[in-house]
């Protein structure tokens, strides 16, 4: 920016702008910081003080309780399993489909592309999908949390577009050297696509960890509930004053105290917070890759 005269109004605006954005930035993470603070506090302190960022006495009781409870520990296991296996399935399905679709000369390519795009516009909806899952005997299996979302059409198209942009000369050279189609994908295309794949790995993984909807629909057996469903059970349904105690809420956990609820919330978010710094580096680019050109 070139140096120029700044009017009083402009300076006022700048000061105001920096302040407002600072407040917005803090507001974005503040609720979470309160929860973290509360999870380390004793129950007595939470009832004594309304909101605080630093507890006077650090207590690990809430976490001790969580990790001594079978139900919660098991649900963490379910979430981890679904996240790891689910993400691997996502990547396999997305890459194997995107690669052929990136070849302009492939017969039937446009038809397939249109079929994929159509699914973004119209879908069968909740009930027909549920019935398909039921007919496949996937209800109450962890596969129901993995297979029905194996490919996101949106991600598929982004990856396909990325593959399409890779320099064709490299592929030709590899082919002349006797590289097979699979070797090409494995040795040339995938290594060149590392940043994109990293972005989608993280997006898919976050999606699995946060998934609540599929589990609500397809999993009735509490021993197979992922953490997000367990979280709702503990935080929202234990205080059933205004309870919507619908079909799938067996009374298995006694109303826990505030600090325990907060600790469960922290555990439910922790993995996201751990990958966030790595995620952060990539995602803006990842999002732009697929976005409509402005």
């Amino acid at each position: 920016m070139a140096k120029r005269y700044r009017s009083a109004g402009e300076i006022t605006f700048d000061v105001f702008n920096y302040l407002v954005l600072g407040i917005i930035g803090i507001a974005a993470i503040l609720p979470f910081l309160f929860v973290v603070a509360g999870s380390f506090a004793t129950e007595a302190e939470i009832t004594k003080r309304a909101v605080f960022l630093v507890p006077t006495t650090i207590s690990l009781d809430a976490y001790r309780f969580i990790f001594s409870t079978d139900t919660i520990v098991r649900s963490i296991g379910v979430s981890l399993y679904v996240t790891v296996i689910g993400t691997a399935v996502n990547l396999f399905f997305t890459v194997t489909m995107a690669y052929p679709m990136a070849k302009r000369y492939l017969m039937g390519r446009n038809l397939i592309l249109n079929l994929v795009i159509f699914t973004m516009l119209f879908g069968g909806g909740m009930i027909p999908t549920y019935l398909v899952i039921r007919e496949l005997h996937l209800l109450d299996t962890l596969n129901a949390l993995i297979l029905p979302g194996a490919i996101s059409a949106f991600n598929l198209i982004i990856v396909k577009n990325f593959f399409q942009e890779l320099p064709a000369e490299m592929e030709e050279a590899a082919r002349i050297d006797g590289c097979t189609e699979l070797g090409l994908l494995w040795r040339i295309v995938l290594p060149l696509s590392k940043p994109v794949l990293a972005t989608f790995t993280l997006f898919y993984a976050v999606g699995h960890w946060n998934n609540f909807f599929s589990a609500l629909l397809y999993i009735n057996d509490p021993s197979k509930w992922p953490l997000q469903v367990m979280l709702r059970q503990i935080v929202m349904l234990s205080q059933s004053a205004a309870g919507d105690l619908s079909s799938m809420d067996p009374n298995f956990v006694q109303p826990p105290e505030q600090s325990i609820k907060m600790a469960v919330i922290v555990v439910g978010t922790l993995p996201i917070m751990c990958v966030y710094p790595f995620l952060q580096k990539h995602f803006a680019k990842g999002v732009m890759l697929g976005s409509v050109k402005g």
């Binding site: 954005l21 492939l106 079929l115 009930i127 027909p128 398909v132 609540f212």
Partner: protein, 323 residues
């Protein structure tokens, strides 16, 4: 290929009929690309089984589905489920709740990322800008269950921080979670908190593409910062705004199942229940498969019409549109 072989050698030697050579060429291409097709198959299978079979399953809406008879044996009932639905007083409640929530979203949430992006764009200190961005993206990655849980923990009248605070200041408590008046503001605030920062990404990218020379020229002409924003920045990102608006219109009847389902309870149901939660309640928990499929189908069809309609309108008014 069988037919080709049967035609005999005479024709082949005569210089290959056009039909036959095309067929052969296709076969050769299939054979050459066989690995590509093999790679394609798991994905294709996925789309067929989990996307196209359910699409075909919407026919349930026109049947009287009996679980023991199955899809094929259940009898056709035509538009009966739709008729029942439109005559049901619930229909107006759902339509009202869905539209009001969407309207609130459009008015309060849609402009938020644009304004935020414009403010961020005015920040010259790149370190400060990046820090703010890092912070405001965070909530996007937090699950809806966590967002709802945090709301519960803070808003409950039984020791929730917000109510404890209200009590010490005003001596009263507000039952945000059960009071129907608070439902919509709560939903919109959650959405803004969670997605507003993330929504800036696309606008910031559009803003980064604006030609710097235009600003320089404007400054020479004596344009204030506000006029620069109004005459250069906003027109420059107009097409991005329009495209996102079209996308938004398509999902206007999707009010976010998870969020509403999580925040809904017996006391605020009259303002909370929307098409998706209704389909879930009737279909999955009560087993009224055909009826709830009809409700879902009604919703999707209106959704598709809205996308195509907005897109058509956008094109008419000189924007590029989506398709």
């Amino acid at each position: 290929m069988k037919q080709g072989a049967a035609l005999g050698a005479a024709e082949v030697s005569a210089g290959t009929s056009f039909r036959r050579s095309r067929r052969e060429q296709r076969f050769r291409r299939l054979k050459r690309d066989k690995w590509l097709y093999i790679l394609l198959s798991p994905g294709l299978l996925y789309f067929l089984v989990f996307k196209y079979v359910p699409m075909w399953g919407v026919l349930l809406a026109f049947k009287d589905y009996q679980p023991f008879l199955g899809f094929w044996q259940s009898s056709w009932v035509g538009l009966e489920h739709f008729r029942t639905f439109f005559q049901n007083p619930d229909f107006f409640m759902l339509l009202r709740n869905t539209l009001v929530l969407s309207l609130y979203n459009l008015v309060f949430f849609f402009p938020a990322p644009i304004i935020l992006a414009l403010l961020l764009n005015e920040i010259r200190l790149s370190f400060y800008k990046r820090t703010i961005q890092t912070l405001i993206y965070v909530p996007h990655f937090i699950s809806m269950v966590i967002v709802a849980s945090i709301s519960y923990v803070f808003l409950t009248t039984q020791g929730g921080a917000v109510n404890e605070f209200l009590f010490t200041v005003t001596g009263r408590k507000i039952d945000f979670l059960a009071n129907p008046d608070w439902f919509r503001p709560m939903i919109i605030l959650q959405t803004i908190w969670k997605e507003c920062g993330w929504g800036t990404i696309i606008f910031l990218a559009a803003l980064a593409g604006v030609d710097v020379e235009q600003y320089e020229a404007a400054v020479v002409d004596g344009a204030s910062r506000w006029r620069q924003t109004w005459h250069i920045t906003l027109p420059a990102i107009r097409s991005t705004i329009v495209i996102l608006l079209i996308l938004r219109m398509g999902t206007i009847l999707d009010n976010g199942f998870e969020q509403i389902y999580l925040m809904m309870n017996a006391l605020n149901r009259e303002v909370a229940e929307v098409f998706d939660t209704y389909v879930y309640a009737l279909g999955i928990t009560q087993g009224a498969f055909s009826y709830s499929t009809a409700v879902g189908l009604f919703k999707s069809v209106i959704g598709v019409v809205l996308v195509l309609g907005t897109n058509w309108l956008a094109k008419k008014s000189g924007e590029s549109g989506l398709y």
